[in-house]
Symmetry: C2
Subunit: 455 residues, 2 copies
């Protein structure tokens, strides 16, 4: 029971990260306090001291996610995240979690399309213990059939609860499968049911052996600790772990040119209020041209990033037609990014009217652009949001870890505020015109069973 | 020039087979005349004598198609089909084709999602020559960079002509990518452009070495020849080719449960008349339950299989709203099959009206079923169609080859007429109700640039 609920709690966070990474793009931060070094076995270490409170956050990031899975093995990355809480040669299952709980710490783990991360927040004196346990399970996991089969039942139950019993999640899954025609980002992180059912010890061992190696990981420690202390502890713990085989570059099948406008509709009696979401494949910080991802970040902010945004002002405040509306950009992916808008009608307004009004706001930016003042305020709000995120150890660790796990550098993070600052009104307009093209969008409709066709 | 046009001619046939396999399901045929045997190296041989004319048709089928390609290497199966016309250690490029042309023969080749086949039709006395050449290129191909690069330019140009310059083909490609959420049937046989551009000698050699082996092939010879003669020639030619490594079962990622209704829309100034096509993933002869594929075959015949069909009678003859309408079922796949309907409005009729009328015909069968008499006539028409197909050497060779290359047997073909005969009105109704569900359909719309949204 305890184990099950703890796993579900962990995975909730994982799903949130997958969906809301948009909320954690690169962070404004001088590199002055941040130190990085690499152990002989290839483990990259980042230390970000923060002595305001006697707490440390310890995160290890493996550069592997669901988009790295072999065809037919969807869900194995997330399954392995679960299995990492089983026993090792040195420690029985549950011991690590029990020790964290005993001292009042928190732990968490999550799997996304691009990486898998494990997290603990504890008092500084517990850091050596945490590092010993985490280093131990990097290579010491004992994966027997007795461990595999019950945990497979757990992830299948998790899928049933979180996806199959939730029309919104089911729709999101099939929107994603439609949005990506070739890239493995189309696959659900949790896996397709029929493939999850076949995951066995052989798959788990092969995945673990290949990807859970120090030369495929990034350690991020933030909080009340010094770089010297982390280096000393890292040498004693992770430093003892043998380097694994070199991994080839993370080359996944890429998206072809998309030429069509697509819709995905789910009607379900459990839906009471209709809604739409519209998505586009767009560049990311990893693969975009100079300033392109930054412009998309600011476009999302201006279009639908809060109560000052155009969608909020026009659809909710001015016309009152929408109960909810917004936009988001996920630029943190290793390959293509994703831009999304969404809307929910209010009162008698039709879903179609809300969608058309949202489309009109995009068209307006694409044709008329945004004002200097609007861009100025968006930059301020955006950078301020990042400052709030920085004012939080876990947020810091997450920003550094996700950036380094997707090919970014500490320098990228340091330069990021200047790069946001440099975005021009012309770039924002160009991003809207070039990327938010209706003829290559994918729109998901979540409708009550009795609702007429919105189209 | 000659080489280029010959390749394009060959591949045209390939594309037709991919699309129209529906027209060639299993054939009514007693096994009396058909003999099969397997060479020591694993090559399966089927001989179907037909002495009405001094002609033989020789086809070799490799059990590999685009759905067997590695992720990121789309197009390699079709590329290899092209490369098979290059030189071998014994014969320079073009010699085989020149010899066929010299004696007034025909040759052809095509690649589908499940198999790749090479075909020659010649006078019986040329059969030893054909078998010598075909056996020689099974293992003797010389794949140098000098051969690869120009041929890659040819397939890329082929894609540009056949897909990128044709809005209908572009739409069909993205409908397919939407229809299959997980199975590699979503990939175009010709390949995605950005992956075709990276195909090199390494990919071609690996694919050839793995799949072009006698134990992964089926030889079908029909026409004015005896089984004894074919066996003698096969021993002297293919029999000399070394067996390859055993191949694992052809297990591809399968489709998840589909829960959503999807649309794919392409507007293009080159389109003058709008049209729609609606597709469903359905069982095939390979993976369906008893009688399920047979019922789907008859459902397609009753719904839209010609001028006696319901779609034709209702939409074209009675209301006159459609210029064209029909239905088809492709049950010949190794994995899931596909069911499709299509319609084109006439005069002032709207595309939406035609689609609704077609949907209504499906709903009527799903709720009211079909009549005994209607089913009787459909079976007669259907089996008669197969008799015409049999009355043709190439058709025969194609029916046997495609069945054997997708896991079927000669016995399946022999029993097929009885299995069609056994389909009941209840099974046809059940197939429509179970599979042609709008809430899991994918509809493609091909629209003029100025046309209003059909939805």
């Amino acid at each position: 029971m305890q184990a099950l609920s703890s796993i579900i709690r962990r995975t909730t966070a994982g799903f949130l990260v997958g969906i809301l990474l948009l909320a954690a793009p690169a962070l404004a931060q001088e590199t002055g306090d941040v130190s990085t070094f690499t152990l002989d076995n290839g483990l990259q270490v980042v230390v970000i001291p923060d002595h305001r409170a006697p707490v440390v956050t310890h995160m290890i990031w493996y550069k592997v996610g669901s988009a790295d899975e072999k065809p037919g093995e969807s869900g194995i990355a997330h399954f392995l995240e679960h299995l990492m809480f089983k026993g090792t040669e040195k420690h029985p299952a549950g011991e690590f979690s029990a020790r964290i709980a005993e001292i009042g710490g928190n732990e968490n783990a999550f799997t996304t399309q691009d990486y898998t991360a494990y997290y603990q927040q504890v008092a500084p004196e517990a850091l050596p213990m945490v590092m010993e346990f985490e280093a131990d399970r990097m290579r010491g996991l004992v994966l027997t059939d007795e461990v595999i089969a019950p945990e497979r039942a757990v992830i299948i139950e998790e899928r049933r609860m979180r996806v199959d019993n939730d029309p919104g999640a089911t729709l999101m899954e099939e929107v994603q499968a439609t949005l990506y025609q070739n890239h493995p980002y189309r696959l659900p992180v949790i896996g397709w049911l029929q493939e999850m059912q076949t995951l066995d010890r052989g798959h788990a061992v092969a995945f673990y052996e290949r990807y859970y190696v120090p030369n495929n990981a990034v350690l991020v420690v933030t909080g009340d600790v010094t770089s010297e202390k982390v280096r000393e502890l890292a040498d004693q713990t992770y430093g003892m772990v043998a380097r694994g085989s070199d991994l080839p570059p993370r080359t996944r099948p890429q998206e072809p040119e998309q030429d069509t406008m697509r819709t995905v509709t789910l009607r379900d009696p459990r839906v009471s209020v209709p809604s739409f979401q519209k998505q586009w494949v767009v560049p990311s910080y990893s693969n975009g041209g100079k300033g392109e991802a930054e412009a998309l970040d600011l476009l999302a902010e201006i279009l639908g990033g809060g109560i000052r945004s155009r969608l909020y002002q026009q659809l909710i405040v001015k016309t009152g037609m929408a109960a909810s509306a917004g936009a988001s950009y996920d630029g943190g992916a290793l390959d293509d990014g994703r831009f999304a808008i969404y809307g929910v009608p209010r009162g008698d307004a039709s879903l179609e009217a809300v969608e058309k009004a949202a489309d009109a706001e995009i068209a307006r930016i694409a044709s008329e652009g945004v004002s200097e003042d609007e861009l100025r305020r968006a930059k301020n709000r955006f950078v301020r949001g990042m400052i709030f995120a920085r004012d939080n150890q876990a947020g810091m660790a997450r920003i550094y870890g996700s950036t380094l796990a997707t090919g970014g550098t500490v320098e990228d993070l340091a330069e990021w505020p200047q790069r946001i600052e440099a975005v021009t009104v012309g770039q924002v307009k160009a991003a809207a015109a070039r990327w938010l093209d209706q003829s290559r969008s994918v729109t998901g409709y979540l409708l009550p069973a009795s609702e007429g066709d919105p189209q």
